[in-house]
Amino acid sequence: MTSAGAGEPPGGRAVLTRGLTKRYGSRLALDGLDLEVGHGEVFGFLGPNGAGKTTFVKLLLGLARPSSGTGQLLGRPLGDRAARTKVGYLPELFRYQGWLRAREVLTFHCRLAGLPDEGFPDEVKRSLELVGLAGRGEDLVATFSKGMQQRLGLAVALLGSPRLVVLDEPTSALDPVGRHDVRELIRRLRQEGVTVFLNSHLLSEVELVCDRVAIVDRGRVLAQGALADLLSGEGPRVRCRDLPGDGLPGLGELRRDGEWVSVPGLDSSRTPELVAAIVGAGGRVYQVDEGRASLEERFLQLLERA
């Protein structure tokens, strides 16, 4: 696991904060947050309700001002206008003008984003197709279900091919199909080199798509780093019988815990080798534990420790 602030994300930083703090009266919403997100990463920002995730996003986009600390978005100061031309944002509280048609909402945001006028129709069509709303552009937003409004919010966030897409709980109103679609969309954005900042408390969602994550609670980063590092445990272990000796050729010394055996320091990617070596040495295998914690387990561990 990589501790907060350590580890250099490849390819520069799309988001960088140092000691970012936000107070609302006597309540500390963010407590000296240090965070780094590299360009082209899909970054998961995890935390329980009230952890400060949305506050952090608002500070990034200039919707709120930090009490102290500094930060950069796409290499520019927080809230910078030029940086915001390259950012797409789906708020947690997604609301769009109900009296407009979906196409009109998107055209309005094309104009605000400063996109060239002649490209609006194609851009609107492309973004509607991306979120599965093709053919619904002429419908009034007020007639959309909550899930469809969230899809529209995604379309708004994807207008103009942004370099950074900030998604605050992007699947909160979506059905399983919609959630799958969003995951596919995020993967597609990663392929296109777009940085995705995913704010979520849905751990399975984050685990499926994110390269790196930060876990926050009560305004503090408990851990951040590559997902693989964060989830790596104590290595694979195998429950077996009739295994002679204290070591395995090519792997190392054995550690025994009842019927469970493991090789200290062995990476979980070498689990098949461990099983093969045990079988080769005459052991009978009954159970294999890859030794990789789920994100939920790691998340709960960190929250308990905090």
Binding site: K58, L61, G62, L63, A64, R65, R81, A82, R84, T85, V87, Y89, L90, P91, L93, F94, R95, Y96, Q97, W99, L100, F108, H109, R111, L112, A113, G114, G153, V156
Partner: protein, 284 residues
């Protein structure tokens, strides 16, 4: 400050008025009022007093008095419409969350607010110009009476609308939509009553009460501009006639001075600047 975002927000704001059928409702009701008052004015020359038709002079005098009443109704409509339109224009967007996606775009708070203001102010000005012009024309055709300065009167009425619009918009950067609307309407009414009190003070040479009117006209120039409109609508002889000196809200003894008009314009600009500052410091 860039013009394009202002234009985009102003366009959206004006379109909302149309899409929500507010413009339709206002125009329909105004057309009804104009038709009824137009018919009423056209009957004045046919009225008889002691079996005799009114003299053209008397008919014009009666028409002028009635026109002031009708224009007072328009002043009331413009003031309340301005308050009701502006109250949710910022606060409603902030409360509903619509502002989140908008303000995350490359747009400053000043551009957003100015866009909102323009998107409401221009339709309001158009409404004043259209409704007042038609009313003046109907009176002229029906009775032969023409206000001394119809354009000045329309400008003053529009100014009154802008004062209320700007004040409400400024309030809505901090207060809820409902509270902003109510506060603005109460201020509108209070200023009008205080203006009447001030006029009474002047009529009876009471310095203290007269000062109430002066302060009122400086604090929020809505009643001050209404008095300017009245002066430009009423016959010139009203200004010097003794009946205008008893503090009636439908008469005025003096018109607009360049200093007062400049003050009213500066007031609108300053309150708009305060609204920008207030919204700029507001967290969404």
């Amino acid at each position: 400050m860039s013009w394009r975002p202002v234009e985009v927000i102003a366009g959206l704001t004006a379109r909302e008025l149309l899409r929500r059928r507010l413009v339709h409702a206002l125009l329909l009701l105004t057309a009804l009022v104009l038709a009824l008052t137009g018919w009423g004015f056209s009957r004045i020359p046919h009225l008889r007093l002691g079996g005799e038709l009114l003299t053209p002079q008397l008919a014009r005098l009666a028409a002028a008095q009635l026109l002031l009443l009708v224009m007072f109704m328009f002043s009331f409509v413009v003031g309340l419409t301005a308050a009701f339109l502006a109250a949710p224009a910022v606060a409603g967007e902030l409360e509903s969350g619509v502002a989140l996606a908008v303000l995350a775009r490359p747009i400053s708070r000043a551009e957003f607010l100015l866009g909102r203001w323009l998107g409401l102010a221009l339709p309001l000005l158009a409404y004043v110009a259209l409704s007042a012009s038609v009313e003046f024309w109907l009176v002229a055709v029906g009775t032969g009476y023409a206000p001394p300065d119809p354009v000045g009167a329309e400008a003053a009425l529009a100014g009154q609308g802008l004062v209320l619009l700007t004040l409400t918009l400024a309030l809505s950067t901090r207060l809820s939509a409902m509270t902003s609307g109510v506060v603005a309407v109460v201020v509108f009414g209070a200023m009008w009553v205080a203006g009447v009190a001030g006029a009474f003070g002047s009529a009876f040479h009471n310095t203290a009460i007269s000062a109430v009117g002066t302060v009122t006209h400086l604090l929020v120039p809505s009643d001050g501009l209404w008095r300017v409109a009245v002066y430009e609508i009423q016959p010139k002889l009203f200004a010097s006639a003794s009946l205008s000196r008893v503090g009636s809200p439908f008469s005025a003894t003096s018109g607009a001075t360049p200093a007062y008009l400049a003050f009213a314009a500066a007031w609108v600009i300053l309150v708009l600047a305060a609204a920008v500052l207030s919204l700029d410091r507001r967290e969404v």
